[in-house]
């Protein structure tokens, strides 16, 4: 019987033919934790009496509160640094950036099983890896035993058809999908994407789609690999990591959704759930206090280029703060070399060190009471950005940049040359 991408990768990692619904034990290739979840992983790892990490790579990312804004977190960071000194685990420290971006640049390979104590680990699905988020204890076991228990998910197929209009991006596609199927529309399932639209999306744009699979409740967001994947790996100096990953033609899907993107408008998620989406024509005019461009969703070089193309020669509205956080050191350096920082600085932006930035509500742009932020991040839950009296709106980097100029939610197509 034909297999979906999820079933293919999990069969290989379990060493047998798996079927949806089955509980399996699977070999882990890559495992990650971050500064919010990692200290608990270390505590549990030590309780088990494990001595060293088993996966090919176990990586501890200091990205959520980096650099540390307070002593408790500085101490938490040191738990991770000390763990790396006594094991094969690697630390990705302050200034390196967000785990999911660095995994995409340096580590995750098509066909891998990547588990991470961070819900947006699903980003790796954009490179054809079965990549999923779980808890700190799971990661302690993945570190110590080199394997995890998994329930094999059924797969929902999303066929993306048509031609993506100008001013509309992969962020708009995935917000549209989540708005359509709901924030629990794919709970426990693997989402797999296919169709002619993928050819119109760069590897970076694809990562944005996989990144948000969890916002529909999914376990993974899988995209087949192709020449675009290969070119991305080559650009990052690891062409040899390429492997063709695709579903069998006779694979069985629990549901198939066909999405025509040809008439899609920019999309905005309103507070306080990601599926509360509106078209830009029904969203524009909402006054905002802050714009944030960055994160594992939309803090890549392509995102910053799009934002810069809109902000070039313009200034942010005087009543708002514009915060820009490149997702990784590599993105940061590219943006600097390409002159994007000049554009951002002249536009009145505050550019912060690579990392998660204000997305997690710890630092670098916590909202005041009754304030509204338009962000390129993936999540707008009540209290997410540090204040339950604030409101979070989600959109693409283009919509964010255009809105920074006017001080209200704005259609980016008004600013395209």
């Amino acid at each position: 019987m034909g297999k979906t991408i999820a079933e293919k990768i999990l069969s290989e990692k379990a060493g047998k033919d798996v079927i949806p619904g089955e509980i399996i034990v699977a070999k882990v290739d890559l495992a990650l934790v971050q500064d919010g979840t990692g200290p608990l992983t270390v505590e549990v790892f030590d309780k088990f009496g494990f001595k060293d990490v088993k996966p090919d790579k176990a990586i501890l990312f200091i990205d959520h509160a980096a650099p540390s804004p307070r002593k408790e977190l500085s101490n938490a960071h040191n738990i991770l640094r000390n763990f790396a000194k006594r094991t094969r685990a690697i630390v990705s420290d302050v200034g390196e950036g967000v785990s999911h971006q660095i995994m995409a640049e340096k580590y995750v390979k098509p066909g891998d099983l990547l588990v991470g104590a961070d819900s947006h680990t699903c980003t790796g699905g954009g490179l054809g890896a079965f990549s999923t988020g779980m808890g700190s204890t799971d990661l302690a076991l993945a570190f110590g035993l080199g394997k995890v228990w998994l329930k094999v998910p059924e797969t929902f197929l999303f066929e993306l058809k048509g031609k993506l209009p100008e001013g509309v991006y992969s962020k708009d596609i995935i917000l549209h999908i989540i708005g359509t199927i709901g924030a629990d529309g794919a709970t426990y399932k693997a989402m797999e994407f296919t169709g002619e639209v993928l050819e119109q999306l760069s590897q970076e744009a694809r990562l944005t789609i996989s990144n948000m699979a969890v916002e529909a409740g999914a376990k993974a967001g899988l995209i087949p690999t192709d020449e675009i994947t290969k070119a991305y790996l080559k650009e990052n100096g690891r062409e040899e990591d390429f492997k063709e990953i695709k579903a069998d033609p006779d694979a069985k899907y629990e549901k198939v959704f066909t999405i025509d993107v040809s008439n899609l408008e920019p999309v905005v998620s309103f507070p306080h759930t990601v599926d509360n989406t509106r078209k830009i024509s029904e969203a524009k005019g909402v006054k905002i206090d802050q714009v944030f461009i960055g994160t594992c969703t939309n803090g890549r070089i392509e995102d910053l280029r799009i934002a810069a193309s809109i902000l070039k020669g313009r200034r942010k509205h005087p009543d708002i703060r514009l915060i820009i956080v490149p997702a990784s050191r590599t993105v940061y350096k590219k943006a600097l070399d390409e002159g994007l920082f000049d554009i951002f600085i002249d536009a009145g932006a505050a550019i912060m060190a690579p990392g998660c930035g204000p997305c997690v509500g710890v630092h670098e742009g916590v909202l005041g009471d009754n304030e509204k932020v338009l962000s390129t991040q993936n999540r707008n839950f009540l209290g997410r950005m540090g204040n339950p009296k604030g409101e979070i709106y989600l959109a693409s980097p283009a919509t964010a940049a255009a809105s920074a100029i006017t001080g209200e939610i704005t259609d980016p197509r008004d600013y395209l040359q």
Binding site: E72, A117, W149, G217, V360, L382
Partner: protein
């Protein structure tokens, strides 16, 4: 295992940010302190009033959002014996199994009210509302997950068996 307790009601889409808000990120290495804020952004009085053995009953997609295992851990630490919801988010469900906090999905969660007393039979898949005299059936967890719950979590399970027994 039979669990008996009184109900706290919550609505749909209770996220990990409601349960363990990001502004207490620095307390993640101090679970007893973090537990004082459990579910604070959904119900401010919950942490101070919840009693050992109480049961949470909620709507759709309970626990959506982050992978923070601290969320189910502080719910358990606060004394909650089980959570019943119309549905659960995946990572929260997995984390709860791993730490030995039973979760039950029943569609009729709306029929249960705050303060009702429930009896839950995990192995046989029965929830009895002794206040209202009603009974609901649910599909018990697969054997592996039930074994983990019965051991009180995967830490005890792995300590006992040395590996996953699947």
């Amino acid at each position: 295992m039979i669990l008996k307790g009184k109900v706290w009601k919550f609505g749909d889409d209770i996220s990990t940010d409601h349960i363990a808000p990001g502004r207490y990120f620095h307390l993640r290495t101090n679970l007893p302190e973090l537990a004082k804020h459990v579910l604070e952004d959904a119900r401010e009085d919950f942490a101070s009033k919840v009693e050992k053995g109480d049961i949470i009953v909620a709507g759709r997609n309970f626990g959506l959002g982050s992978s923070r295992e601290h969320a189910p851990r502080i719910i358990k630490l606060a004394g909650v014996a089980a959570i019943i919801a119309k549905s659960f988010a995946r990572i929260f469900y997995r984390n709860a199994v791993n730490i030995g906090l039973p979760l039950i999905e029943i569609k009729e969660a709306d029929e249960i009210d705050e303060g009702d007393v429930l009896e839950i039979d995990l192995a046989n898949g029965i929830v009895k509302n002794t206040t209202k005299g009603k009974e609901y059936k649910f599909v018990p967890m697969p054997k592996f997950m039930l074994d983990v719950i019965n051991e009180g979590g995967i830490e005890n399970y792995i300590s006992k068996y040395g590996d996953y027994k699947i």
